[in-house]
């Protein structure tokens, strides 16, 4: 699949503004790309609006990201992506300590605190899937019913079984490498005979070193015994296709979308750089789905087009159009304001940008929940030196982990968690291996041969456990806007208020004990130290911790059973605006211990079906009752 040349120039802003599309989608990340691709397949005309300044997903452009990464002194998860004052994005390096009553507005996210989050998302063509790590666990059946089971959070208006067929679709599109036998745990089930598109990626040698100490260990929580093991994570990354996939039809991986696959991109090569950019596109990114969506000419894509207002007809509540600000030069505030129109509108700009746009449009919704219940997994890092050389810094960023404490009755008391074994050493916690080199040279005064010997001794024995801890919805954790804070184009910036809930902190405290126990088993020297001056330093029951953001943003336009307890319905359709869908992580009522992207993708396949049905329903209704002359008819194109 090759990204069609000049796809971003297929239409221009004037022509698009004069077209009445079946569907207008805001955002070219995974949610927008999947919906555009599904609607295009159904013969619908779609316009995708992207705020970033990217052009086609060209090889030159992709390699430009890579060069930018190579040359960046700070190799954080946004380092490959250019700064764009007209579509700014948060960077983990932005986070500052927040003092009570003094919001930190020094970077794009205005942080009200009290907790200072270093969460990020990427505003480029393809969205945050450009920098994501591509771990794709499904949510567990228990995760959908936390309210009923434990009186916590919100139940989903869906069950695991409802979502299961859409998980299958998402796993196909993302190209998931995993083995069913290792993913059938804690109630997760698969259809008989189901296999993932590709076999699971091999565990790293480091994983195996950890497994030697951990496998077969039992821990007791809330009277329940859990047997631990290290197992491979499902990953949206090309491995070895499973010949048994799709009843023996097999699976063809999608490699790089801008060059011949033989040249680049088919199978993961172990670059150890999933975040922030896979150099060979073995990792799924939404450009792959966009490339498909753009094949047949029914999808138009406009870049440098920032959605600035959702326009609603006050009489019907229907969305009339999306006001956009179109710019040429990312450095210049000069822009033209236009309106894009269609039958149905989809906001797929992520769990912070979706509510930001709605609130900036004056649409706080009848439930009052727009922007509330912001969630992001709390990551607790724990790091140690193994007694043996484990060859750290090889493989994908993470191949295996411990997931046996993702569900259980203990969840009535404390948050569940999943544990990543990081193949990239202490990097996330300490800046390793750079920080190790600097320390060995500047502080330990090692030079020459002594330095050479010390480097593997310090680096190749590193073990970092990233404990990803559940966060429940809390209405005061929220995104708002404030006209005092705007970006270069005059769009209001997101204002974040956030506290790590006590339920999560109980999980954090247990997770730290758990990590200590793993280190004790392995005879590994615990080097974990949480810096009290870090903006993300928190204390709980006398112990200090630093909590990192997971970039798994969710909850801000939560789905539910009615317009009082939620913003969207189970199809991600707005309760207030019948032709508006808010899609993505924002729709998730809880996040459990599952990285959110696969679930977002599954929800979007489900919504695409509903949008297609709604278009047909509205078309039939029009055909039966003469359409008012001022309303243009949707374009009807035969499905191919």
């Amino acid at each position: 699949m090759i990204f069609p040349r000049d796809a971003t120039r297929r239409t221009d802003h004037k022509a698009a503004s004069e077209t009445f599309y079946d569907v207008v989608v805001v955002g070219s990340g995974i949610s927008g790309a999947i919906i555009a691709e599904q609607l295009s397949q159904a013969g619908k005309r779609v316009l995708v609006l992207e705020a970033a300044a990217d052009e086609d997903r060209s090889l030159k452009g992709y390699e430009g990201f890579l060069s930018r990464f190579y040359a960046a002194a700070s190799k954080d998860n946004q380092s490959p992506y250019p700064h764009n004052p007209n579509a700014p994005m948060p960077r983990s390096t932005d986070a500052r300590r927040i003092w009570p009553g003094q919001p930190d507005s020094s970077a794009y996210l205005v942080q009200n605190g009290p907790f200072s989050s270093d969460t990020t998302y990427t505003r480029v063509l393809g969205g945050t899937t450009m920098h994501w790590e591509a771990k794709t666990p499904r949510m567990l059946p228990q995760d959908f019913h936390l309210r009923t089971m434990f009186g916590l959070g919100q139940d989903w208006p869906l069950t695991y079984d409802d979502l299961s067929p859409y998980y299958v679709q998402a796993e196909r599109e993302l190209g998931v490498s995993a083995d069913v036998e290792h993913q059938s745990y804690l109630g997760a089930t698969f259809d008989p005979g189901y296999v993932f598109p590709m076999h699971e990626l091999p565990l790293s040698y480091l994983d195996k070193v950890v497994a030697k100490g951990v496998d077969g260990t039992f821990v007791e929580l809330d009277g329940e015994q859990f047997e631990l093991s290290v197992r491979a994570f499902p990953q949206a990354r090309n491995g070895v296709p499973n010949a048994a996939y799709d009843n023996g039809k097999g699976y063809v991986p999608v490699g790089a979308v801008n060059t011949h696959q033989v040249e680049e991109g088919e199978r993961c090569q172990g670059n150890n750089n999933c975040v922030p950019l896979c150099p060979v596109q073995a990792k799924y990114h939404a450009g792959k789905t966009l490339a498909k969506a753009l094949q047949d000419g029914r999808v138009d894509l406009l870049t440098r087009t920032v959605a600035s207002k959702v326009l609603v007809d006050p009489a019907t509540g229907r969305v009339d159009g999306i006001e956009v600000k179109v710019y040429q030069d990312p450095e210049s505030p000069q822009h033209t304001t236009m309106i894009m129109r269609g039958q149905i509108f989809v906001l797929a700009a992520n769990a912070i940008e979706n509510p930001r746009l709605m609130l900036a449009s004056g649409l706080s919704g009848s439930s009052g929940l727009m922007g509330r219940n912001l969630m992001d997994h709390a990551y607790l890092l724990s790091w140690a030196l193994l007694p043996e050389m484990a060859g750290t810094f090889r493989g994908t960023n993470c191949t295996g982990g411990i997931v046996d404490l993702r569900a259980g009755s203990f969840r009535r008391q404390q948050a569940a968690f999943a544990v990543d074994i990081h193949n990239d050493g202490w990097g996330w916690a300490t800046g390793a291996p750079y920080s190790d080199l600097v320390d060995l040279v500047d502080q330990q005064n090692l030079f020459g041969a002594e330095l050479r010997r010390a480097l593997p001794d310090r680096i190749s024995r590193q073990l970092l456990l990233a404990l990803m801890i559940d966060v429940l919805p809390n209405e005061s954790n929220r995104v708002t806007v404030d006209p005092a804070y705007t970006d270069q184009l005059g769009n209001m910036r997101p204002v974040i208020s956030y506290t790590v809930p006590e339920y999560t902190m109980r999980g954090v405290a247990y997770a730290r004990q758990f990590a200590r126990q793993v280190f004790q088993r392995l005879g590994a020297a615990d080097h974990t130290a949480y810096d009290p001056t870090d903006g993300a330093y928190l204390t709980y029951e006398g112990e200090g911790y630093v909590i990192r953001g997971g970039n798994h943003l969710a909850g801000t336009h939560m789905m539910g059973t009615n317009s009082r307890n939620s913003v969207v319905d189970a199809q991600q359709r707005s309760w207030d605006h019948p032709n508006l869908y808010l899609v993505g992580g924002g729709s998730m009522p809880t996040i459990g211990t599952s990285n959110v992207t696969l679930t977002m993708a599954a929800l979007c396949y489900r919504s695409a079906e509903r949008i297609i049905a709604q278009l047909q329903d509205e078309l039939s209704a029009r055909l039966q009752t003469p359409a008012p002359t001022e309303l243009p008819m949707p374009t009807v194109v035969a499905a191919s």
Partner: protein, 165 residues
């Protein structure tokens, strides 16, 4: 300081490589193989000035000559004459770090206060190639993240970290 070195660019580079081999314990042959020799010498010259670089190379030369008749080892002489020198020590350490990760690290404040601020003295990656040619990665049996991929599944095997005597 010393005229001949300034006049003869190739001899300067040779001396820089010889010192760099001492600093990193990689051979001159391996250092040349990175293609970064001239770029690193230029970076050092560009930030601290050729006079300081030359002074460092002269001290290294002198230490090499002196070691023959000395009871000290070369590393001991280097610690005494270069690494503990307030001006040359931080520069020598920066040269070592540059070879390992391709980064020029901002000199410490004590250095700039004593010897004057230098234009361009910030932490930066010398070039895209200097990142991928960093010697830290082969020293730990790994690839620079995002480049020189070792191949599918290679990570499942025990590491092959070069044994260093």
């Amino acid at each position: 300081m010393t005229g001949p070195r300034q006049l003869d660019g190739s001899r300067r580079l040779e001396d820089f490589l010889a010192f760099s081999a001492e600093a990193t314990a990689f051979t001159v042959f391996e250092l040349r193989g990175t293609g970064q020799s001239q770029a690193y010498l230029n970076t050092c010259d560009g930030i601290v000035g050729t006079e300081v670089t030359d002074c460092l190379l002269d001290r290294y030369d002198a230490a090499r000559s002196a070691v023959v008749a000395s009871e000290s080892t070369l590393p001991e002489l280097l610690r005494r004459d270069i690494l503990s020198d307030p001006q040359l020590g931080p520069v020598a350490r920066n040269i070592a770090k540059m070879w390992f990760v391709g980064v020029w690290y901002e000199l410490p404040r004590a250095w700039t206060e004593a010897f004057g601020a230098r234009e361009g003295n910030a932490t930066f990656v010398v070039s895209t190639q200097s990142y991928t040619e960093g010697l830290l990665w082969p020293a730990i049996g790994a690839n620079p993240p995002g480049a020189k991929a070792p191949g599918f599944g290679s990570w499942a095997h025990p590491p092959r970290i070069p044994v260093f005597p």
